[in-house]
């Protein structure tokens, strides 16, 4: 049987505010456990939440960036459940009146088509703390540093039909929130977490099947794997005549396994009700207009500009504009490097390969865009060969030296491009190789001739101590030998 796959996403985006959504504690990542939790975060008796205006500004900016309606009056509710990392015994979140209403994002697919994914809504809420199950010998540790960090939860319509679209959407959203500067986008630290809702239905059917939710996927790769895994699992069950249980599942990316966390019957009754400690939040036109004025360039606009300003093709522009850090790196390099196409090639080639090999993000790159730009300048102006350029790149990456020209000097990578000097060397080498010269001149097949040129290059490079410009050597040789 043929199946249609139906995918919807829920994405938790940690907002990059300095302080928490309802308290003045810092949101910085990585501090000693419980050093960034004050009386409010600990839910001490009598403490009260005070909303952080910046979180609202960020949520509004997000709403504007995804073409959404901004709700003028949003209401916080309490979602009640007991867990040790939830100090108040309820999460303050939004349900009936979220701050961001319906919107959409357009995806450019690999086949050249544009796919629209609708956003159902996005709401503001507080993050929980963390339960630490290791290191406490039969007990659980609780770290409340993260408790109260502002999140927006983005909920899409079930508009995606395969893993590629879901990942493309996730990457697009990542690009939007990092470009807006409202999220650091660091998925390994949980700054963005994806829940995937998946169901299957017979091809062409109008009726949605029973869905499952796979929670807390924190990389694009795991997301893609988890979708493939879950689609296969559901397909196996359905083709065996079974039924899908509505449930929440946890995916283990390291083992490519998933297990049921809880079924619908086991689901909590969260007893939502409006939080009486927080008045409804009214957002007026001027707040929205200020947020609109503060919107930076977003990936779609940036892509168009890259094509226009740097003459990049659609593919290169798409790749370099999605992630704001990568885009920034490219622009730093291109403004130094003149030849934007060559910069783009180096970023997608050597640079990306090294980042991937070392599992680093652009932000952790040991070399700067400006340095890469300087390197590309020296390639373009023939100061160094591409082999020499790789050596310079290595030296920059390892931190040996930070100045491209200094590395070229120190390593003696500068090419000799003085035609007079090169001609003298060619004359000298050819004079020492009369047999090979005669052989070349007797050969009538230009292809074979071309191959024979290589026999002269070795001695020439040796004579020039490796610094002769190979392109110029080649030209001079052809001229001299061809007579």
């Amino acid at each position: 049987m043929q199946w249609d796959i139906v995918i919807g996403l829920e994405i938790h985006v940690q907002l990059a505010t300095r302080t928490k959504i309802f308290s003045g504690s810092s949101t910085a990542y990585g501090a000693e456990p419980n050093t960034q939790a004050n009386a409010v975060d600990l839910a001490m008796p009598g403490t009260l939440p005070v909303p952080n205006e910046q979180a609202f500004r960020y949520a509004v900016m997000f709403g504007l960036a995804v073409n959404a309606e901004i709700e003028r009056r949003s209401v916080f509710e309490r979602k009640n459940y007991f867990y040790p990392d939830l100090p108040k015994g309820y999460q303050t979140t939004q349900l009936e009146r979220p701050i961001v209403g319906p919107g959409y994002v357009d995806l450019d697919l690999a086949n050249g088509e544009t796919k629209r994914v609708r956003i159902h809504h996005a709401h503001l809420e507080e993050d929980a703390g963390k339960s630490l199950h290791e290191d406490f010998h039969g007990m659980t540790g609780v770290d409340l540093n993260r408790a109260g960090t502002p999140l927006i939860e983005v909920v899409t319509e079930p508009d995606m039909t395969n893993a590629e679209e879901a990942v493309a959407f996730a990457k697009k959203l990542h690009g939007i929130v990092t470009s807006l500067g409202i999220c650091d986008g660091d998925m390994s630290q949980g700054s963005m977490r994806f829940d995937v809702n998946i169901s299957l239905k017979p091809k062409g059917s109008d009726t949605l099947g029973t869905r499952t939710e796979t929670k807390n996927l924190n990389s694009f790769r795991f997301m893609e794997q988890a979708i493939a895994h879950e689609v296969e699992r559901q397909m196996d069950i359905l083709e065996d005549g079974g039924t899908i249980v509505q449930e929440t599942r946890l995916y283990n990316g390291d083992r490519d396994e998933s297990r049921s966390m809880r079924t619908k019957e086991e689901a909590n009754d969260y007893r939502y009700f409006p939080c009486p400690d927080l008045l409804p939040v009214e957002i007026d036109d001027s707040f929205i207009e200020q947020a609109r004025d503060s919107l930076p360039e977003l990936p779609d606009a940036r892509k168009a500009r890259f094509m226009e300003q740097y003459g990049l093709n659609d593919y290169d522009a798409g790749l370099l504009s999605g992630d704001s850090k990568l885009a920034g790196f490219f622009e730093d390099a291109a403004s130094h490097g003149k030849d934007a196409k060559l910069v783009a090639n180096w970023i997608q080639g050597e640079f990306s390969a090294r980042l991937n090999a070392e599992e680093k993000s652009v932000a952790d790159s040991p070399i700067t865009g400006a340095q890469l730009g300087d390197l590309v300048v020296r390639i373009a102006d023939n100061t160094i060969s591409s082999a020499g350029a790789k050596k310079v790149f290595e030296a920059l990456w390892s931190g040996e030296k930070d100045n491209v020209d200094a590395i070229i000097d120190a390593k003696g990578l500068k090419q000799v491009s003085d035609t007079g000097a090169l001609e003298a060397m060619v004359d000298e080498v050819l004079a020492g190789m009369p047999d090979q010269v005669a052989q070349y001149q007797q050969e009538s097949d230009p292809k074979k001739q071309k191959k024979m040129l290589g026999g002269f290059m070795g001695p020439l490079m040796k004579a020039s101590k490796g610094q002769g410009n190979p392109k110029l050597f080649n030209e001079i040789l052809v001229k001299k030998l061809g007579g």
Partner: protein
């Protein structure tokens, strides 16, 4: 000395007739000697109080003086006090010492007042008799003369009894459904519940957040005004507090009442009220007529729905507010929990008393899937109707007057077995919290030797007018000066 008001004591401190240390020692001695009969204090902070008194005397010597500098008083044990345990009348917080002050606490500290201790209360402010305290019931100073142990009302029964027994001239209190006015009435003292949002709730342990309001308790209206001067105001730590100018509430106390329009809600003079109580209240209203006020009957048609709506909304909010008492971070924790569920269930089963558990269950039920619309949403609609009743009434009159309670102080244990009878204690006070408006209870006579309270209800932010009306009444009556024997 113990019969003097805050205003009088303030003048004596100012004139140097007495020092704060002397005053503080006298009240501390009185608490030590007398409070065995009443159990109005959970914690007495003798050492801290004497140190604060000494500091206050030094402040005075330095010329840095407020009307509260060196004045002894007490806090209801619901206001967090930095470094002093704050129990909320519960085993759950028996050993809880907050590392922060409530805003109200900080304000009195700032004003130089000397806190003698923390007063008893119904557990988590849930009750109308101060019998549900983990630290034992408080006894009303009135009625002891006849050999009867009567309740002081609640939940601020400790504050009311302490003021009535002259253990302190003033005490803070809180009111969610009548918890200031009802005990003030039953103990023959003067109490004010301000407009919701007038006094910060920060550091005041929550019962029902949309109804809770901190307020004042003292023997005179003037002292209530002095208290409110310290307590009222916007607090950036409480986003439900209101950013509105705070007047000096003492300035308008002496304005004449000529032309004041008084409304008597007919629903509050019903058969629930004993004829003897009604007589006292009508006598009080006649005093106001003598002072130049006019009186007419008004109607609050939805008032009868108030108790039902309140007992959905308040428990619903409480069920969430009390979830934080889980044994994980502070407060009581059960012995040797075998797993997380055991930790939660035993901590809460052992740490909370019966009435608190009853309300958590009621509130949880009302918010549950399938019941939310029928209970919580319906109750919120009723709440708006009740609010509208008051708005309509205040288009006709300046203040409303009624009895504070249907009957005087009852005997301990009389209503503990039937929660609904207990809930009806608040039949005249509860609608005011639902509407969020201010109201006072003022001593207005006696029935069978027990005090009767007159409730004066005002429009939003009319505290100055209420205090003015109460003060003028106290210039022509002496009910508030009567001392229990």
């Amino acid at each position: 000395m113990h019969n003097k008001s805050v205003a009088e004591l303030s003048r004596e401190l100012e004139s140097g007739q007495v020092s704060s240390v002397e005053l503080t020692q006298q009240f501390l001695d009185r608490i030590k000697r007398e409070d065995g009969k009443y159990n109005s204090f959970i914690t007495v902070t003798e050492e801290q109080a004497l140190a604060d008194a000494q500091a206050a005397d030094a402040q005075r010597a330095a010329g840095n003086v407020t009307p509260w500098t060196g004045i002894p008083f007490a806090h209801k044990d619901i206001f967090c006090t930095n470094g002093v345990r704050t129990t909320c009348g519960s085993k759950m917080l028996e050993n809880f010492v907050p590392p922060y002050d409530a805003t109200v606490t900080a304000n009195f500290r700032q004003a130089g007042a000397v806190c003698l201790g923390k007063t008893n209360m119904d557990e988590f402010a849930m009750g109308s008799s101060t019998e549900s305290s983990y630290f034992g019931a408080t006894t009303n100073p009135w009625g002891l003369g006849q050999g009867e142990k009567r309740v002081p009302g609640g939940s601020s029964g400790g504050s009311a009894a302490a003021v009535a027994a002259r253990l302190v001239p003033a005490a803070t209190a809180t009111d969610t459904g009548g918890s200031i006015r009802q005990p003030a009435a039953l103990c023959g003292v003067t109490g004010l519940k301000p407009t919701y949002g007038r006094v910060s709730r920060y550091g005041m342990i929550a019962f029902a957040s949309s109804l809770d309001q901190g307020g004042t308790m003292a023997r005179t209206a003037e002292d209530n005004a002095l208290m409110l001067n310290v307590m009222a105001g916007f607090d950036p730590k409480d986003s439900t507090s209101l950013d509105r100018e705070v007047p000096d509430y003492t300035v308008t106390l002496n304005e004449p009442l000529k032309g004041l329009k008084i409304g008597l809600p007919k629903e509050y003079f019903s058969d629930q009220l004993s004829p003897a109580m009604e007589q006292q209240v009508r006598n009080a209203v006649r005093e106001y007529e003598k002072l130049g006020a006019t009186v007419k009957e008004v109607s609050l048609p939805n008032a009868k729905l108030a108790i039902a709506a309140y007992y959905v909304i308040a428990p619903a909010e409480a069920s969430a507010n009390l979830s934080r008492f889980d044994g994980v971070r502070y407060g009581y924790r059960c012995e040797d929990p075998k797993d997380l569920m055991d930790l939660y269930t035993r901590t809460r089963a052992e740490g909370f008393g019966t009435e608190v558990k009853r309300r958590i269950l009621v509130g949880t039920y009302a918010l549950s899937a399938g019941y939310f619309d029928a209970y919580y949403l319906k109750a919120q609609k009723v709440r708006r109707l009740i609010q509208q009743d008051f708005i309509n009434a205040f288009e006709e009159v300046d203040v409303l007057m009624s009895p504070t309670t249907p009957s005087p102080a009852f005997i301990q244990g009389e209503k503990t077995s039937d929660p609904v009878t207990m809930y009806l204690e608040d039949v005249f006070t509860i609608a005011i919290n639902l509407a969020g408006i201010p109201a006072m209870s003022v001593p207005a006579g006696f029935v069978d030797g027990l005090p009767v309270g007159l409730q004066i209800i005002g429009d939003y932010f009319s505290e100055a007018r209420l205090l003015n009306a109460a003060h003028q009444f106290q210039q022509v009556t002496d009910w508030h000066q009567r001392e229990p024997q």
